[in-house]
Homo-oligomer: 700 residues x 2
């Protein structure tokens, strides 16, 4: 997808020793300094407009079986390059992405280890820094085991942080907002229960970690291109405000098995003095490789409904019967008594297909269609699903025929229950089954503890597996939406059939007690930095008890905020998550979901402050239409929507979906107004948002 | 394969509590007593002709997540049955096997655990006892995790034992012979180095464990039908001479994940006052299920040569070049420099094919044919082989054509290097590749530590894998010879495409320092109790230095003992392991290997004493030919070979391959004589065997 290389300059510097290497970003705002400190320890520091982002921080890796890569280094070579190209993602927030950086490549040798050498590659963009360790092929380095990566991020102060507890298995926590110095005290509160969770430190933090300094810098730390390596969390030294990499171990405590030539993922620091710049950053995508897929014509955005929310709320069930224990191939489902609440039955799925077809949606997700749901959860059951055997009331062939006749795709569902060996054993057969039955996308799930036992969701073993599932899917031209997998790191550039991930607390938690009103004002600054999220917005029936009298949860947003999320939460895969019967009561509001695009030519971040509010405008792909979403936290506010990105002199009709004057997420969430107005590039709209309210505008 | 049911009687005994349950074997020699002891602990004891085999011993399992199955039991039901049938194995030591036992099925309930119940099923044969735990489906028992199985075998004395150190990963140890009380003192000496090994106790022992009591009983403890359960070792309480089950843990220390309804493998005790009866026992096969394969016509015995011994000795290499590190799909082998010692090249393989065809053998094993051997060992390398990509000098299509033209099969080789996930990912493709290229059998290998790391060769995870590989092979009509897999437990009855296993110290160790002269006089009493072994006999060039000057090992047998092993070491898969160039020098002796059968109608154990000697006569399947093998340990002896199994009045020609008068394994191993004589059913032959010598006779 490379569009054009504007500039490529190489500067070689081959002196044997250099005291400090300094590069600046193309716009000169960022300065990266690399230096060896006492005893040959590699260090780097990062400054933004004369403000310290990262103070001098150590780099290195501790190994288990060979001498560590920590000290005793001397610089044997440095190279500087600049790079500037513009490329186009297959699907994305904008049609053209500029990849422009200054690169410093440092070769470091350890004399005491037979001149063994590594390289550290820094790429300094206008929006931040990426760097990684590279381990070239050489006589004295083949295989090695990582005990711990020792990459430090020494912060310049006790920043405000938007954080999740560091965990090897889940990111489905509510984001905590506090000073870094308060993390330790709030950790217990932060660690809420999950189906699989393994925290590791009283100051352990996950990435993407979003921070704001007292002097006005927005700093985001994450990683890019996580491939066959353990996921990085951060451990905070809260005395010195130093974050240090903390990798996910395997079952025996090792943190990575590598073979040279190889490299670490990129460690990323996105920084700006404007919060909007953080959301506009494409640094993580730029650090990933261009796609290797030759044919990407089969990769399409998807707007879908699903047989899902009714089970999440407890109205229906995934399981066909009420048995507590079943065995695949042994239990004869046809002879069991149905529980009468099984949603994924042929007739009911047809209703969803009808709804999708009638409203111009692309697809219908169906969960609970296959045998095994009676005891799938929490048993660490090895042979839990076979991914091809439907329940007696789910007619695969008939639904294939029916959906095809209406030009609707059914989205396959592969819940693995964490039993990864079992999934891999069935993967080829399951994908073939999909192709044979007209499915072209799959939602996969990894709920619960991993089998093989002792492995973690974010360890190298699983990171390798997720990639295996994605690349094998590509062989079958299947798109993947992986839930409970590792949080993304921009891999959708290279593997664009990875449409989206979950890997955070999604809308489902609105039925499990609720998400905080500020939740979606933070996620774009954290989880979404790595890639699209299948957040599943669109819940109009905000009282869950309407579906299940025993469920007292309610959605912690207004109805209009649910609409706004289709714009503020980027994903090429967007669900209209509520039930057709509910949408039928609100078809005027549903019109926005019908209209809104899921793939974009341009994106403008109009307003943003993590934890408070976000306003974004996006131009639909290949259409002269714009969609605007604005959201706020529990505090009502007035959004200022500018339209200066519209072509000058042209008048558009804007349809404005706004919170009602009396709306609030907790008292009156379903109050909304819809009005139309003419807008031009000069229009500035001031619009009130309710408590945890929103604003959605279509501009045509 | 059931031939006839002679008798089937059921006796139901439904009293609520019974003090002790006693059953006797069909021949009345064995008595099994089951009783609940204080606090409702299940116990059993076993007696043979009034001699104690197993004193009152506890039964039960300790669990992790549900109340244990250890005590608090009451008997709620007992059932007694007798059973008698004769069945025919697909391949075997005899055409007809009698399966005759008295059964006691005890149902035990735990009142304190909501009347949760289990069953213990005892089957008492004339040659010993099998029993297992059964966990029926019930409301109060679904999933459970085994912390430890607590099955005891309280011995009646300090027996002489033929033992291996208990280990989770290998059985490739030399057998120790000592009193049980001496195990602790000899453990250090017993634990010799291996590529993957994990001992667990100073008195840990493997099964099959062969023992001999001072009062003349031969007792063998093992297990039958090990499926989806952890392998059992034994831990010795050397104060009280109590052996207790000790299961293989997974990576997190758990010893089994079970879901009711299910059962444990059978725990087996073969006993007699005659050592020959131990070798004649078919108890373990009888405790396995009949085969479920509908078509077994594709399962054939195999006599083969192989491109193997020349690598084992160091004369040639598996690897194509001398690189220390390669990456599949990255390393371009065509551009590397061959090391000039790569054995699996097209021309050389054709020489083996020619030899096999000329001498009436069935197949040629070829190891080292595929990319990846340069760094396959000891790296715990995940993507180590792909099982389909040949080295540049190995022409798959041409060798397929050439072998087929000579009616020879090539045996595929799948070394996994312990990287089991990688193997499973490629399994279907690899098997398809085999079918497409004319292979119908595979030797698989599991050298080195297991990946996923922390799992063990003998844990439930791997036990499940081995079965997966075997059953999936059956879908492709492929026969399996698995090395470094778990030792067999009679599963070849149910899955007859499992032709053989290694799972013990094979002939390869003759090139790694040598096997003890008594080694093969013990193996039939230990390792072979569970099933056939691919021992790979037939080494005529007993000085390894003849192939590799740097290798000072020598074979610890005479040449004739190598011949005798084809009879004494039962396997439907037998290798002529030495090099064709060597056989060419000894074609008169090689004639026995050409002639000897590998599948049998009848087997007669003529003489046997574990650790000392074995003499066996077998009738070739569907032929009026008998083959006799006799071996001895380091002590020369005179074998007494009777022929009373021959039809009366008929005269046969026996060709007698005997050690030369001056032969000995260490001084003059290649000294042998070949003579012919007429034999009838009345003939009794006394024949001298040299030190670690043998005797081989063909009778036609």
């Amino acid at each position: 997808m490379r569009k054009s290389i504007l500039l490529f300059v190489s500067l070689f510097c081959t002196v044997a020793w250099v005291k400090a290497q300094v590069i600046t970003s193309p716009d000169k705002n960022l300065t990266l300094t690399f230096a060896l400190k006492d005893n040959g320890v590699p260090t780097y520091q990062l400054d933004y407009k004369q403000k310290s982002v990262i103070k001098s921080s150590k780099l290195g890796l501790e190994t288990k079986d060979v001498p560590s890569f920590l000290d005793g280094f001397s610089i044997t070579k440095t190279e500087q390059n600049t790079f500037d190209e513009t490329w186009s993602p297959v699907l994305g927030e904008q049609k053209n992405i500029r990849n422009n950086y200054t690169e410093l490549l440092v070769t470091l040798a350890q004399k005491a280890v037979k001149d063994r050498f590594i390289r550290i590659r820094f790429r300094l963009f206008n929006d931040g820094l990426g760097f990684r360790y590279e381990f070239p092929a050489q006589a004295n380095l083949n295989y090695f085991i990582i005990k711990e990566e020792k990459t430090q991020f020494a912060l310049a102060g006790d920043h405000k942080a938007f954080w999740l507890p560091g965990d090897y298995d889940t990111q489905e926590y509510s984001t905590m907002t506090s000073k870094l110095s308060e993390v330790r005290g709030k950790m217990k509160e932060a660690v809420t229960p999950n189906a699989s969770q393994t925290t590791f430190s009283p100051t352990g933090l996950q990435t993407p970690l979003m921070m704001k300094s007292d002097n006005g810098l927005y700093i985001n730390i994450h990683e890019a291109a996580l491939i066959d390596y353990s996921t990085m969390s951060l451990n905070l030294d809260d005395q010195h405000m130093i974050l240090e990499s903390f990798l996910t171990p395997d079952a025996v405590g090792d943190k990575g098995y590598l073979q040279a030539p190889t490299q670490s993922p990129w460690r990323t620091i996105v920084v700006s003095d404007k919060a909007t710049d953080i959301l506009a950053s494409r640094l993580i995508l730029n650090l990933n490789e261009p796609t290797k897929y030759k044919d990407v014509s089969w990769i399409k955005p998807i707007k879908y409904v699903g047989v899902w929310w009714e089970m999440i709320t407890g109205k229906s069930t995934w399981a066909y019967n009420n048995l507590e224990s079943v065995q695949l191939g042994v239990t004869d489902y046809a002879k069991t008594t149905p529980n009468g609440k099984h949603a994924a039955n042929t007739a009911h799925v047809k209703e969803y297909i009808d709804f999708a077809a009638k409203n111009g949606l692309d697809a219908v997700l169906v969960e609970g269609w296959n045998e095994g749901w009676e005891d799938w959860f929490g048993k660490t059951k090895d042979y839990v699903f076979d991914f091809v055997t439907p329940y007696p009331d789910f007619d695969v062939a008939e639904l294939h025929r029916y959906a095809a006749s209406k030009n609707i795709k059914i989205i396959m569902h592969h819940e693995t229950s964490g039993s990864v060996r079992n999934y891999e054993r069935h993967l080829d057969t399951a994908y073939k089954f999909m192709v044979n039955n007209g499915y072209n996308s799959v939602k996969s799930g990894y709920v619960g503890n991993i089998i093989p036992r002792g492995e973690h969701h974010y360890g190298q073993w699983l990171v390798n597996h997720y990639m295996y599932a994605i690349t094998k899917a590509a062989e079958y031209k299947i798109m993947v939406n992986a839930h409970e997998a590792v949080r993304p790191t921009g891999l959708n550039r290279t593997y664009p059939n990875l449409l989206a991930n979950e890997a955070a607390r999604g809308t489902e938690y609105e039925s499990f007690g609720g998400n905080n009103p500020d939740h979606t004002t933070i996620l774009p600054f954290t989880r979404l930095m790595g890639g699209p999220m299948d957040y599943t917005p669109g819940i109009f029936q905000t009282k869950i008890s309407a579906y299940n009298p025993e469920n007292t949860s309610f959605v912690h947003t207004t109805l209009v905020k649910q609409l706004a999320l289709y714009v503020t939460m980027y994903s090429p895969l967007q669900m209209a998550a509520d039930l057709p019967e509910t949408y039928a009561k609100f078809m005027d509001a549903f019109q926005f979901i019908k209209d809104v695009a899921v793939d974009w030519d341009e994106t403008k971040i109009l307003e943003a402050e993590p934890g408070d509010y976000i306003t974004i405008a996006r131009k639909a792909k290949n259409k002269d239409e714009w969609y605007i979403g604005a959201i706020t936290d529990e505090n009502p506010r007035t959004a200022t929507v500018t339209f200066d990105y519209l072509p000058k002199g042209k008048t558009y009709t804007a349809t404005i979906y706004a919170d009602g004057k009396d709306a609030s997420y907790d008292k009156n969430p379903q109050s909304y107004t819809i009005r139309k107005m003419k807008v031009t590039s000069k229009t500035v709209l001031k619009q009130a948002l309710a408590s945890s309210g929103g604003l959605a505008i279509s501009v045509k």
